[in-house]
């Protein structure tokens, strides 16, 4: 069968909402794009543990500490679901992780910002996880089966992340003057980076949108960003706080909120590695990998020894 036929069958499946599974034929570019996207998504979950992990030992109460521990453990789990989905496309786990450490593979730039106060943990849950959820809910319907299944699992767990973040800020917003200021300050610092998580404006891209045609992605960056802004602008009122954008205004005609210009220079700078914490985050990941070498080797040696023992007994 000529390649064109394979591609035609493949596209027909996509058009008919039939999921693509690991052993199905797929165009090389589809495979590569999924590997890149799923692995970057996985790296984001793992690197995303770092800014929050920073506050586990300093959480203001045992309850908040337990919640934060559970959340960070969830992120590790999400990373694993995604790494596993990625492996079904034929790339080894080690290779994926090497790509992160060498800087070849990226992760979401949001995690290159520092967590300066406790309120940042609440703001991350509400805004950063909130923005991620907009993407993730859409991705539960992505065309690659293992990715979609991982996203279903992740979305089920992610809703707790956003709710605990909002609730944590709600407590601060009803607290002392200092607590309210801390809450507002965290919102001010995380708002714009959270909007950047959706990626560049749709108008920036002149290329034909293969990702949509393949149904890897089903909504555009601007569409998701607008949904997010509309949602958060309502929610922030409950907190009695404000968003740091004086152009934010309801547009009756569009039935959406208008908003100010995002600082794209900052965005590209952080993507290129010049954000406040890029080096620190990557170093932490590399250190964790290097310091864990002896554990991986010891476990492998132990398994080998146990196997040879049971072989001897069987003989």
């Amino acid at each position: 069968m000529p390649v064109q036929n394979f591609e035609k069958i493949f596209q027909e499946k996509i058009d008919n909402e039939i999921k693509i599974e690991p052993k199905d034929w797929m165009p090389d570019a589809y495979r590569k794009t999924n590997i890149r996207q799923i692995s970057q998504h996985a790296h984001s979950e793992i690197v995303g543990m770092l800014p929050e992990g920073n506050w586990i030992s300093r959480a203001p109460s045992l309850k908040r500490k337990a919640i934060l521990l559970a959340k960070v453990q969830d992120e590790a789990g999400h990373g694993l679901y995604l790494y596993s989905a990625c492996e079904t496309l034929g790339i080894s786990r080690e290779e994926t992780i090497n790509d992160l450490h060498s800087g070849k593979a990226k992760y979401s730039s949001i995690f290159n910002y520092p967590t300066l106060t406790w309120a940042d943990i609440g703001a991350i849950g509400w805004l950063v996880d909130g923005a991620a959820i907009m993407n993730q809910v859409m991705l539960t319907r992505t065309s690659y089966g293992p990715y979609a299944r991982a996203m279903v699992r992740i979305c089920k767990e992610e809703s707790f992340h956003q709710r605990q973040g909002f609730e944590s800020l709600l407590v601060l917003s009803k607290g002392t003057k200092e607590q309210r200021e801390m809450c507002q300050d965290a919102i001010n610092r995380w708002w714009w980076p959270a909007l950047m998580m959706f990626g560049p404006k749709d108008s920036e891209s002149t290329n034909s949108d293969q990702g949509m045609k393949w149904k890897i992605k089903r909504k555009s960056n601007d569409e998701l960003r607008q949904n997010f802004i509309d949602m958060i602008t309502e929610q922030v009122k409950v907190l009695g706080m404000t968003l740091p954008d004086d152009k934010l205004k309801w547009n009756e005609e569009r039935k959406h909120y208008d908003f100010g210009e995002i600082n794209w220079d900052e965005f590209w700078n952080v993507v290129k590695g010049n954000g406040p914490c890029n080096k620190q985050r990557l170093q932490a990941r590399k250190d964790a990998w290097d310091k864990g070498t002896w554990v991986r080797e010891a476990a492998a040696a132990h398994a080998e020894k146990r196997k040879s023992k049971s072989n001897q007994q069987a003989a």
Binding site: V3, P27, T33, Q73, G90, S92, L100, A150, N207, A303
Partner: protein
């Protein structure tokens, strides 16, 4: 295939060699891959939930506990090394499954019975 995705999405930052290279050779240090099956409650089948790496079976079960049952999703775990799973080939789907398509008489709805025996 000339249409490569250049569009930039959340979690997908295109770049030359942006982590999309396929290298499948398993290195020596990689722990083997295990498939995980969970019984969600007594009386139900074990269902495939995903996979993970572990040095041996006990570790695979412990890791599966941590990753796949954090919210009481299971009461029993099976793990099997992925290399021991044989799978049918999607390209043979026709030969394998089509013979069943025209045998509608295997379904109870094929038979029209009088109303009196409707609950048979």
């Amino acid at each position: 295939m000339s249409n490569y995705i250049k569009k930039f999405y959340y979690g997908d930052i295109p770049e030359e060699k942006g982590g999309g290279n396929i290298v499948s050779a398993q290195t020596k240090n990689d722990w083997p891959l295990w498939e995980v099956f969970i019984r969600s409650k007594q009386g139900l089948d074990h269902k495939h939930v995903g996979s993970l790496h572990a040095a041996d079976a006990p570790m695979a079960i412990e890791n599966a506990r941590d990753v796949y049952t954090r919210r009481m999703e299971g009461v029993s775990i099976w793990v099997v090394e992925s290399k021991y799973i044989s799978a049918s080939n999607p390209e043979e789907a026709g030969e394998l499954y089509e013979p069943a398509v025209d045998k509608i008489y295997r379904h109870p709805t094929f038979y029209n019975l009088p109303d009196e025996v409707n609950h048979m």
